[in-house]
Symmetry: C2
Subunit: 149 residues, 2 copies
Amino acid sequence: MGIGDDAIEIRAQGWRTLAALHGLIETSLERALQAGHDLSVVEYTVLDALSRQDGWHMRMSQLARAAALSGSATTRLVTRLEQRGLLTRILCADDRRGIYTELTPAGSELLAQTRPTHDRVLTDALAQAEATPELAPLVDALHRLPAAR
Amino acid sequence: MGIGDDAIEIRAQGWRTLAALHGLIETSLERALQAGHDLSVVEYTVLDALSRQDGWHMRMSQLARAAALSGSATTRLVTRLEQRGLLTRILCADDRRGIYTELTPAGSELLAQTRPTHDRVLTDALAQAEATPELAPLVDALHRLPAAR
DNA sequence: ACCAGATACTTGCACACGCACTATATCGGC
DNA sequence: GCCGATATAGTGCGTGTGCAAGTATCTGGT
């Protein structure tokens, strides 16, 4: 056994904790958003990401990164949302390979309606996680994270 | 705007960071384990969880929780691994509704072969994340997590 | 001007997942 | 002991996903 094995075990343990917390939150959100607003978590993530770029466009590939999705999944996700009238594709003139996406008013409105549910469920899920011994430290660390930007 | 809005925004930001880091790690692991050992991340997680219960059995439902999976997905996952000869189902006598699962020698061996890859890729992914400004704080927090047990 | 290679999105296909439902086993009140 | 309520695992079905291949566009070297 080498000297770095402890570090590896700590990393593995951290990854398991991270995955567990992620799963817990995602499942809660998925059920709530699906039931209440007919939106999946990734769909919400995309709408949210677009709204955050307020007034600015996002390329498909940026969207893919923001949602941690493959290119093909992003194509179909955007297609779904476009067909529901929540966003629009905009061919951009300077690089005709690229496609920009933009929230429609309907998209903004749905997002506004959904955000309270999202925030409430997220808060609840975190509270629930904090009550779980092996997850509590990570939840705590999450709260102390320096506010990015 | 209420007084708690900052807290909500911090939580949302934390969740986005968590999801981003999780996605990054999972994608890296998925590709590496799939390419090198024909295993998915959940499959590895299950084998690892079983090995960690060394000498002890796990019920399907515990496995489902450990892998953050639904009951039905767990059934099929166990079926796949059983057909590959990596684990065995064991009907338990005291509660005939329950089913225990146990690693076979082949399962242990495959896990032993796969673990180095897993650990190396995990280390690399964390290092990569640490080089990303918005992820670095969370990676740092992960390392400082108290060793659970 | 041209062509090879890189980049951005899309499409074909196989597959793992969750939900709703079913089957079997256990437990508690009577 | 019996029967409804609950728990555990498995099945049918629809759907979202990633990979690999395909198409269109851009870029740089010659």
